[in-house]
């Protein structure tokens, strides 16, 4: 006997965290400049391990450390914060579209008569 496979509920997307977005922006800029961790960390006066953790969103840098890393990358704080805002906006837009897509798919599924056949949708 076939049964309708229930479409999974749209997962509540986790709220973005400041340190994650910030880390990605800092890492992205360092890679764009083709510089290695050790060098940027040395200029900023922090250990490469610490900078690596900041870039991966594992540690919250203090405002002073953020300032030093920003300066080591030749940027101003305003530029970094602005990029984080842009990146958060892009992520929100992506999530909005993804939610819309899922909603559309769910509607389509609910319009399809199941009649004993199994439905499995690869999203």
């Amino acid at each position: 006997m076939g049964k309708v496979v229930e479409f999974p509920r749209t997962p509540r997307t986790a709220k973005p965290l400041w340190r994650n977005e910030l880390g990605e922006v800092l890492r992205g800029e360092r890679l764009a400049q083709e510089r290695i961790l050790t060098e940027v960390a040395g200029t900023a006066g922090v250990s490469p391990q610490y900078l690596s953790e900041i870039e991966r969103g594992r540690k919250e840098p203090s405002s002073e450390v953020l300032g030093a890393v920003t300066e080591a990358l030749g940027l101003e704080l305003v530029e970094v914060v602005h990029r984080v805002a842009d990146s958060l906006r892009a992520r929100r837009e992506l999530e909005r579209r993804e939610a819309e897509r899922r909603e559309r798919l769910e509607r389509e599924v609910s319009f399809t008569p199941a009649r004993g056949s199994a439905y499995l949708l690869a999203a």
Copy 2:
């Protein structure tokens, strides 16, 4: 005998700190909503003392606390970060103009013959 009062050197403006700008944005929003510390702190699940320190740039909130305060204010992280970026940009513009004004004043002073009279400029 009169003497030329030397014009003070332009002070090196301190680099803006993330926690200061962030605190001002959070405090500004709370006041704009006419809400008291105790209430917003309670909704965010932090003590009023802690929120007060965050607002005054005395404490670095973790990304989780920032998220909770942001939510308690009915905002999204992207909005808060965007406002901080705007505020940093406005501050930089203000400092640029101030630097230009001082430079102009310094030029004017250096063009004025001193000839034994005292010059005191109120900036």
